[in-house]
C-alpha cells in the first residue's frame, strides 16, 4: 500500500527541510541579511535621487519590449558569443533556482502543498536540476574566461574573484545537498534529479548513510550562510547590476542612435556642461551603478583601439567610484541667487583620474559604438559630451585645433579654418540652381561644409548634383546663405554656438518655405533629423543614399553597364549607428555591381569610426595613433578595389588613411554618388 502510494506520480513529493531542525535560526539570520542588503540598495537609490530630473518612464510598451529583448532574452548580451552564452546560462539558472527556493518557501512556510505531483517532478526536480547544471556550466565558462583566456577588456579585481568563488560554492553545495538527501532518504523520485542521483550514487559508494546525513546537516548550514552572505554583499559589488541592469534597460534612451545629447537652458543653468556628480541626471548616475565591467565598450572604442587614453568603460567605472566615495545626499543645495563668477563644483569629476582627464575626453569621436554595444544600455557618449561642454564653455580649455574650428564657425559659419574655397566653387560651370531661381523645389540640396569647402569632396558633390539633374529632380541649393548645421560645435561641446547656428538655419529654411532637405553628409542629416525638431525645425530629411536608391527604384535613374570593380562599403557612424541606415547604400551598390558589397568584419551598426567625428577631423592625431589608419587596414583587408562611403568626412579620413598604410596595395575611396555617376545612363 505504502509502496503503491509512493510510486504514484500524482503523489510525488519530498520532505522539505529534511534533516534540519531549529530552522528558526535561519529566519533570525535572514533579518540582518536583508537589512544589510537593503541598506546597500537604499544608499545607492538615495545617490541617484540626488541627480537631475530626466523623463524616462514614458512609452511603457516600448520599454517593456526592450526589457523582454535585452533582459529576458539577453539579446544585447548574446552579441558576444562566449560571454553571452555563459551569462544566459547563469541568468536563467539563477532565476530558476530562486523560483525553486520560493516554491519551497511557499510550500513549507505557508503550508500550501504545491510541491507535489507532476509539478514537483517536471519542474521542481528535473527542470531545476538541469538548469542548475547549466548554471554550473556557466560558472565554469566564466572561470575559464577570467582565469585562462584573460581578455584585456575585463577588469580583474579581488571582488570579481570572490564573487566567482562564491557562486561556484553555492551551486556546488546545492548539488551536494540534493545528492546526499536522495541517498540518505532513499528518495523513490531521485531519478528525476539527474545530477542529484549521480552525486547520490557516487557518495553512497564511499560513505555510509549516517555520514552523509551528518555531512548534509553541516553543509546545509554552510550553504545557507553562503547564500545569505551573497545576498547581503551583492548590493555593494558589481552584482548590484542584477537590480540596476533591468532598471537601466527599462529607463534607456529610446531616441535614435543612443547618442542623444541633452539640451541646456542657458538662462537658468548653474553651469554650462557638467563637472560635478550631482549635475548628472538620476539616469546618468543609475548608469554608473549598472555597469557590469564587461569591457565591451572599451574594446570597440576606436580611440582606445589605436592606443589612446580614452576608455568609456573606465570613464563609467571611475565616475562610479567617485559616486561611491561621495555622499551626494549631504550636498548643501542652497544657492544664494547671485551667479558666482566661477562655478565651483561640489563633487568635481573632470581631471579627477587619468580616465577623466580633459585630454581623454577630447579623444572621443562621438561614434557611439560604446552606447551601441553596452548590454545594459549605458550611455557613455552623452556623459563625455557633458564634460566636454564644461571644458569648452566654462573653462575654454580644449585642443587648439578644435578651438580654431570653433572660432571659424563663429566668424565664418564653417569649421574649416583657412580653406581657400568658397561655398559655390564646386558648382562652377555646372548651372546649379540656387533657391532664388527655383520656386518650391522638390528638395533642397544641403551641400554642407564638408561637401563644399574641402577640395576632395567637390567631386562627390558634383556627382550628386549631376545625378539629381539626370533624374530631373527639381532641386535647389542655398548657396551663400548656407552655414554649418552646428554639428561640430555640438560634438566638440559648444552647445551655445550650436543653438545659435541651428536657430539661424531653421530661420533661413523657414523663410524659403523649405519642406524637404537632402544631404550627403550624415552629420548634417543627423542634426536635421534628430536635433532640429527640438529647436522647432521640422523638415523632411533625406540622406543621399536613401534618396538615390529611391530614384533608381522609381526608374528616374537607370544604370548602364555594371561597375566592374569590387567594392567594399564603410558605414559612416552617423548614418548606420546613429540613424540605422545600413540597407540603402548596400542596395545601391548591389545594383551597381550585381553583387553585394564586400564587408569588413565591423560593419552596419557595428561599424568602426573613420576617426573624423566629434571634431577630431580638425585635429592632427599622433602619427602612431590614428583611427583612420586602423580603419584603412580593415578596409584594405577586404581586397576590394574601391571603398565606397557616404560621408564627406569619411571620404577624406579614409583616403588619407589608405594612402598612409596601403603599401603596394591599391584602393580608391569614392562617395556612393561618385560610383553611381560613373555607371548611370546619361543623356
Amino acid at each position: 500500500m505504502m509502496l503503491l502510494a509512493a510510486l504514484n506520480p500524482a503523489e510525488a513529493t519530498r520532505e522539505v527541510m529534511w534533516n534540519i531542525s531549529h530552522s528558526w535560526v535561519m529566519y533570525m539570520l535572514l533579518v540582518p541579511t536583508m537589512i544589510i542588503a537593503g541598506r546597500g540598495v537604499y544608499r545607492q537609490v538615495q545617490k541617484w535621487r540626488a541627480g537631475q530630473p530626466a523623463a524616462r518612464f514614458d512609452r511603457p510598451a516600448e520599454r517593456i519590449k526592450r526589457v523582454v529583448k535585452h533582459v529576458l532574452l539577453q539579446q544585447a548580451t548574446l552579441r558576444d558569443r562566449f560571454a553571452g552564452v555563459y551569462h544566459f546560462l547563469l541568468f536563467w539558472g539563477m532565476i530558476t533556482l530562486t523560483i525553486a527556493t520560493t516554491v519551497v518557501l511557499i510550500h513549507h512556510d505557508f503550508s500550501i502543498d504545491i510541491m507535489r505531483g507532476r509539478f514537483y517532478l517536471y519542474f521542481q526536480s528535473l527542470f531545476v536540476d538541469v538548469l542548475g547544471v547549466l548554471a554550473m556550466t556557466g560558472v565554469a565558462m566564466l572561470a575559464v574566461r577570467r582565469w585562462i583566456v584573460r581578455p584585456k577588456k575585463l577588469v580583474y579585481t579581488d571582488e570579481s574573484t570572490w564573487l566567482l568563488v562564491l557562486l561556484f560554492a553555492i551551486l556546488g553545495t546545492g548539488f551536494l545537498l540534493e545528492g546526499w538527501r536522495i541517498a540518505a532518504t532513499n528518495d523513490p523520485w531521485g531519478n528525476w534529479s539527474p545530477a542529484g542521483i549521480v552525486i547520490s550514487k557516487a557518495s553512497l559508494a564511499v560513505a555510509s548513510v549516517e555520514t552523509l546525513t551528518t555531512l548534509h546537516w553541516l553543509v546545509w548550514w554552510f550553504h545557507m550562510a553562503l547564500v545569505f552572505g551573497l545576498i547581503a554583499w551583492a548590493p555593494y559589488t558589481k552584482l548590484l547590476h542584477v537590480l540596476t541592469a533591468p532598471l537601466n534597460i527599462y529607463t534607456a534612451n529610446l531616441d535614435a542612435g543612443g547618442g542623444t545629447l541633452k539640451q541646456i537652458d542657458f538662462e537658468s543653468a548653474q553651469s554650462f556642461g557638467i563637472n560635478s556628480l550631482e549635475q548628472f541626471t538620476w539616469k546618468d548616475l543609475l548608469d554608473l551603478d549598472a555597469c557590469t565591467e564587461c569591457g565591451r565598450c572599451t574594446s570597440v572604442c576606436p580611440a582606445n583601439t589605436v592606443g589612446k587614453q580614452l576608455s568609456p568603460r573606465d570613464i563609467i567605472l571611475d565616475l562610479q567610484s567617485l559616486l561611491d566615495r561621495n555622499d551626494l545626499a549631504s550636498r548643501n543645495s542652497k544657492s544664494d541667487g547671485e551667479q558666482p563668477d566661477e562655478y565651483k563644483p561640489a563633487f568635481p569629476v573632470i581631471g579627477q583620474t587619468d580616465n577623466l582627464s580633459s585630454d581623454a575626453l577630447f579623444e572621443c569621436t562621438t561614434c557611439a559604438a560604446c552606447v551601441e554595444i553596452c548590454p545594459v544600455s549605458i550611455e557613455q557618449l552623452p556623459k563625455i559630451v557633458d564634460m566636454r561642454r564644461f571644458q569648452v564653455m566654462e573653462r575654454a580649455e580644449f585642443p587648439q585645433q578644435m578651438q580654431d574650428a570653433i572660432s571659424s564657425l563663429e566668424g565664418r559659419g564653417h569649421p574649416f579654418k583657412g580653406t581657400q574655397l568658397s561655398r559655390m566653387d564646386w558648382a562652377e560651370g555646372m548651372d546649379v540652381p540656387t533657391i532664388e531661381d527655383v520656386d518650391a523645389p522638390e528638395v533642397l540640396l544641403w551641400v554642407g561644409c564638408g561637401g563644399a569647402l574641402v577640395d576632395r569632396n567637390q567631386r562627390s558633390t558634383r556627382a550628386l548634383a549631376n545625378l539629381l539633374k539626370q533624374a530631373g529632380v527639381n532641386f535647389a541649393i542655398l548657396g551663400r546663405e548656407e552655414t554649418c548645421t552646428g554639428d561640430p560645435a555640438r560634438r566638440i561641446g559648444n552647445e551655445f554656438l550650436f543653438e545659435t547656428l541651428a536657430t539661424q538655419n531653421i530661420e533661413t529654411l523657414k523663410t524659403h518655405n523649405i519642406k524637404s532637405v537632402l544631404t550627403s553628409c550624415p552629420h548634417c542629416f543627423n542634426t536635421f533629423r534628430n536635433e532640429y525638431p527640438k529647436l522647432g525645425g521640422d523638415f523632411e530629411v533625406l540622406h543621399h543614399t536613401t534618396y538615390l536608391a529611391k530614384l533608381i527604384g522609381e526608374g528616374r535613374l537607370t544604370l548602364d553597364a555594371k561597375a566592374a570593380e569590387r567594392i567594399a562599403f564603410h558605414d559612416p557612424c552617423y548614418l548606420g549607428r546613429h540613424n540605422g541606415i545600413t540597407d540603402a547604400p548596400r542596395k545601391i551598390l548591389k545594383q551597381l555591381t550585381g553583387s553585394a558589397p564586400a564587408e569588413m568584419e565591423k560593419h552596419g551598426r557595428q561599424s568602426f569610426c573613420c576617426g573624423g567625428g566629434g571634431g577630431l577631423s580638425f585635429v592632427d592625431e599622433p602619427p602612431d595613433k590614428r583611427v583612420n589608419q586602423e580603419r584603412a587596414r580593415q578596409a584594405l583587408d577586404t581586397n576590394a578595389e574601391t571603398l565606397a562611403v557616404g560621408c564627406p568626412f569619411c571620404t577624406t579620413m579614409m583616403e588619407d588613411g589608405i594612402n598612409a598604410v596601403k603599401g603596394d596595395r591599391e584602393m580608391v575611396v569614392k562617395d556612393i554618388a561618385e560610383v553611381m555617376w560613373e555607371t548611370v545612363s546619361r543623356e
Binding site: F266, E394, Q403, G418, L421, D425
Partner: protein, 267 residues
C-alpha cells in the same frame, strides 16, 4: 598697472582669394561676403595685456575707432574680461589712414585718462601699414617700443622683449609707454568662455562721436593728407611653367641651377 589696448576691426583676411574684391573707384576693399573680425595682432596685444594683468594687478581698457559695427570687437574684448571698453564712432565711415587713426586714438586716450601702457598691434591685416603705433606715440608725446612679444612688470616700469631680425632684444623701460605687439607662441589669443560671452552683451561700452573728443573734420582731413592712396588693384597671378632640358641628369641639374640663379638675380 593701467593698460590700454587699441583694437581694429578689419575684413576677415582669411577669406578665399576669389571672394576678395576691391572698390577701385574709392580705393578700398569691398566688403563682399567677408566677415568682420578683430585684427590678429590686436588680439595678440589684448592677450599680452590679459597675461600681464594676471601677473601684476591692473585694469584693461579696450579702445577702437571705427564704424558702429566695431562694437563687436569691444564686446569680444569684454568677453575676455577687459574691464572697460570705448568706441569712437567714425560716422562718415571714410577710409582712414594710420595718421588719422593715430590722431583720433590719441584724442580719445587723453580724454580716457592716464595709462601706464598703451598697446597696439604691430600692423593690421588689411592695409598692413604698421604705422599707427609709432604715430600714436608721437601724438601723445610718449616713447615707444615696437615688435614687442612679451612684457614683464618690474618695480619701476616694464621689461620688454622685442623681436628683431637677429634675435631678441631685452628692453627696460619706464612707463608711460606705447608698445606695438607682435605674435609669438605665448600670446596666441585665448577664446572666451561662453558665460562671459553672454555677460559681455550686458556690459557698458562708452560710445563717443568725434565731437565728444574734440576732433573736427578739418583735423582729420589735415592729418589724412600725410598719405594718399593713388590706386588700388588686385595683383594678377600668373603661372609660367618651364621645363629644363638636358641630356643627362647632371646637365639638367646644372641648367636648373643656372636658371634659378638668373631668376633670383632678375627679381
Amino acid at each position: 598697472m593701467k593698460i590700454l589696448v587699441c583694437l581694429k576691426q578689419i575684413l576677415d583676411p582669411d577669406i578665399p582669394p576669389r571672394d576678395f574684391a576691391i572698390d577701385r573707384d574709392n580705393r578700398r576693399a569691398a566688403r563682399g561676403s567677408a566677415n568682420l573680425v578683430t585684427n590678429i595682432f590686436c588680439e595678440n596685444a589684448l592677450e599680452t595685456a590679459l597675461q600681464l594683468r594676471e601677473k601684476a594687478e591692473g585694469e584693461i581698457t579696450a579702445l577702437t575707432f571705427g564704424p558702429s559695427s566695431a562694437e563687436d570687437v569691444l564686446r569680444k574684448a569684454l568677453a575676455l574680461k577687459a574691464d572697460h571698453a570705448c568706441l569712437v564712432e567714425d560716422e562718415a565711415g571714410e577710409y582712414r589712414n594710420s595718421a588719422t587713426t593715430a590722431l583720433v586714438l590719441a584724442a580719445a586716450i587723453r580724454k580716457l585718462g592716464e595709462f601706464d601702457l598703451i598697446m597696439v598691434g604691430r600692423e593690421a591685416g588689411d592695409w598692413g601699414a604698421g604705422q599707427t603705433g609709432g604715430l600714436l606715440a608721437e601724438q601723445l608725446g610718449l616713447p615707444s617700443v615696437s615688435f614687442v612679444d612679451s612684457i614683464e612688470a618690474t618695480a619701476d616700469g616694464v621689461t620688454l622683449r622685442r623681436q628683431t631680425e637677429l634675435g631678441w632684444e631685452k628692453v627696460e623701460a619706464t612707463t608711460p609707454l606705447v608698445v606695438t605687439i607682435t605674435n609669438n607662441d605665448e600670446n596666441v589669443p585665448r577664446i572666451p568662455k561662453t558665460r562671459d560671452i553672454m555677460m559681455s552683451a550686458r556690459k557698458p561700452v562708452t560710445n563717443w562721436k568725434l565731437s565728444d573728443i574734440d576732433v573736427t573734420c578739418d583735423d582729420i582731413t589735415a592729418a589724412g593728407t600725410a598719405l594718399e592712396v593713388v590706386d588700388l588693384a588686385i595683383p594678377e597671378k600668373t603661372t609660367e611653367c618651364e621645363f629644363i632640358e638636358g641630356d643627362s641628369i647632371d646637365e639638367k641639374i646644372d641648367a636648373f641651377a643656372k636658371r634659378l640663379a638668373s631668376i633670383v638675380q632678375s627679381a
